[in-house]
Symmetry: C2
Subunit: 418 residues, 2 copies
């Protein structure tokens, strides 16, 4: 039998990222394997928020919108500044990404923009949005919303048939790069090329990718992307999301959530909308300054650690866990790709009692999550997770199954958010 405990200790001792765990405020007694749902709190964030609240808002008041406000707060450019910092993490230029709203709302903007593209001059009308069943729900629901308005036709094809489904009516291929449940990663390059060959545009949802896996939107020639601020970017609960638009689309980009912050001159207070240049026109309302500042701290930290090192550790760590579960907890069926390069920084296993197993783990302070109907999911945020945490998850799982602890009634009660 492999000595996984010893292997974990050796890997932790040799981990070049080990020092970064101290940059997060995390209880050492907790094995936090749910950073793919809500990232941990960076140590610098509470102080930054305190400054934003007390000095910038409390003392600076309205002047903090300006660059010469209290401490040079310059709130008005936060969406662009934070977007520019996210850009290198996803292979984008600084003027191609903006932080704003939620993933859901940004999906609506960009799916709408893709559909508007095909209503434009010189284009054959197309209104089909192609995705896969089991995509993250909000991605599909946003297309439902546009379908309800008569603007889109939703079409789903299993991932192995996506390329065949790219016919001449498809306006947009809408996919989540790393699947939220299985962690399976799409081949961004190949699918983007296939969509373009079929005359369609592509929108990648990077919610489970950014900060965890290599992404190069420019090399893939992707058209649009969105992503989440509160997972691997550690921006805090409900952090703003981001949106990317390839520069070739900047001039013609039209999106319907045309609020005043996306106007060419918001403070001219004109009656008619005129879009701001480039991705700035994706802004709608007033940006949530406090959460945007927290997101900036999270992004700064990930950028300092560096994507290459994060990706290397993520793969090593998830692979260690996959092997250990396969050998020691074989009754769990892994539904994630076996090749670490073909998956995100997460693993999921199918089990009839996955919900109860997850609850029993949480009681032992090993935090993963459950994804309906039968998946136990563990995430490996490489910035702060230790190999010892992974080993603890595996050994506790073995113990919970052996002891039958998961059968206890309290573990069957469903929480509001699972």
């Amino acid at each position: 039998m492999t000595d996984f405990a010893g292997e974990a200790a050796r890997l932790d001792a040799a981990d070049p990222l080990a020092k970064w765990r101290g940059h997060f405020l995390l209880d050492d007694a907790v094995a936090y394997l749910d950073g793919n749902s809500l990232g941990a709190l960076p140590r610098a964030t509470p102080e930054r928020i305190e400054t934003v609240v007390r000095r910038e808002w409390g003392d600076g008041l309205i002047a903090s919108w300006n660059p010469d406000g209290a401490g040079g707060a310059d709130w008005i450019t936060l969406p662009q500044r934070v977007g520019a910092k996210i850009a290198p993490l996803i292979g984008a230029g600084p003027d191609e990404v903006i932080a704003a709203d939620s993933v859901s709302v940004n999906l609506f903007k960009l799916v709408s923009a893709a559909l508007a593209h095909f209503r434009g001059d010189g284009h054959r009308r197309r209104k089909v949005v192609l995705s896969e069943p089991g995509n993250f729900p909000t991605d599909l629901y946003m297309v439902d919303g546009l379908e309800g308005q008569g603007l889109a036709t939703r079409k789903l094809a299993p991932r192995e048939h996506l390329e065949a489904a790219l016919d001449k009516d498809v306006a947009l291929l809408l996919l989540t790069h790393v699947h939220y449940k299985t962690g399976a990663m799409h081949d961004m390059l190949r699918l983007t090329r296939a969509a373009h060959e079929a005359g369609a545009l592509v929108l990648w949802d990077l919610s489970h990718s950014v900060g965890a896996v290599p992404v190069d939107l420019t090399a893939a020639q992707a058209d649009f992307a969105v992503g989440c601020g509160y997972k691997y970017l550690n921006g805090g609960p409900g952090a703003p999301a981001f949106a990317y638009v390839a520069p070739r689309h900047h001039r013609a980009l039209r999106q319907p959530l045309s609020g005043w912050m996306g106007h060419a001159q918001p403070f001219a207070f004109e009656d008619d909308y005129a879009p701001a240049p480039g991705v700035d026109r994706l802004l709608a309302g007033t940006p949530p300054v406090i959460q945007m500042s927290a997101l900036e701290e999270g992004v700064d930290l990930i950028a300092r650690i560096g994507m290459d090192a994060l990706v290397a550790k993520s793969r090593r760590m998830s692979e260690f866990t996959r092997r250990a579960v396969a050998e020691l907890v074989p009754e769990l069926e892994c539904i994630s790709p076996a090749d670490p390069k073909a998956r995100g920084s997460q693993l999921s296993w199918r089990h009839e009692h996955a919900y109860e197993l997850c609850q029993a783990l949480i009681e032992r302070r090993v935090v993963g999550d459950f994804r309906a109907p039968d998946a136990l999911r563990l995430g490996f945020a490489p910035a702060y997770v230790r190999y010892a945490d992974c080993w603890r998850a595996v050994s506790e799982l073995r113990d919970i199954l052996d002891s039958g602890a998961w059968r206890e009634e309290r573990f069957a009660e469903r929480a509001a958010v699972t």
Copy 2:
């Protein structure tokens, strides 16, 4: 000449709300007359935010979404909880208001919902959205966005001709209750009735009303409303906004930003959208927990002070200022209604050099704002503004004009946000 300084001192001494100023963190040396743009920082808010960040996020992590999370955080119900607290301030029931997104995004949802109503069975198709020129820009721009999608036709009529413009093609009358620049207040009862008689629905933007003037959406039989969290509600920069839907529309309500948080069962992860009951279906993405918590503090404070007392002080205070400016600074032309019951908690004056006057005032720590092209605007947030602040604004204005101080070059430089 009236002794306005003495009058201000007497009014402050007799002010029943004077004690509430201590519930805000405000520099006594500043006369803050811009709470209608960004409300002041409630004293309780920094500590609440610290708790949300360190304890709920840092320690509680993902479990804080649940009611049994750290400190019973129960993040998932924040939008409903905060909405229910805003409801009594606007004459709504607790299940009729939800806190979410920005005013702009909520406008898009509800204008879309109104248009969908007239695409529904048993209705004659209507797609005209009627508003007034000079309405707050984002209200008009959101209709532009829907017009770009082919779903709406924007029509503007000056306020004195709105009723005559309510023809059989109008789907929705969209108005800001208190005008952002002049403070002029629409007669909500009369215009709502007129719209209904013409077969149209009504959406009131309460951004400059909530927390400052009496609003009774139920009595007015309004259909929809939106409002801002960061003005008189003191929710902080970029606080979430809110949306109201009359209960008679709850069952049929359809809005296109149909994200997972507005699904009947968000954590069932189904492929097809099914709306949550009532206003819950207005939710799209994950709520910004930190800002939503700050908003809750602001709303709690306004609710404790009480709308009747706030309205009474607001009227007395703006009237004091209006009289003083009329007598002592007659070169400023008041563009706000003279009757305090016909205006919001603000006053604006036209002056060729309003921008420079505003900048010179700010340098003397009297903070108002400028609204293009030529308005100087002062807001009277009754929870914390003193009569002495108002008097200081008037006397400094007189001095700035007499001394010609506003002519100094530095006051002409335009800031990013004015």
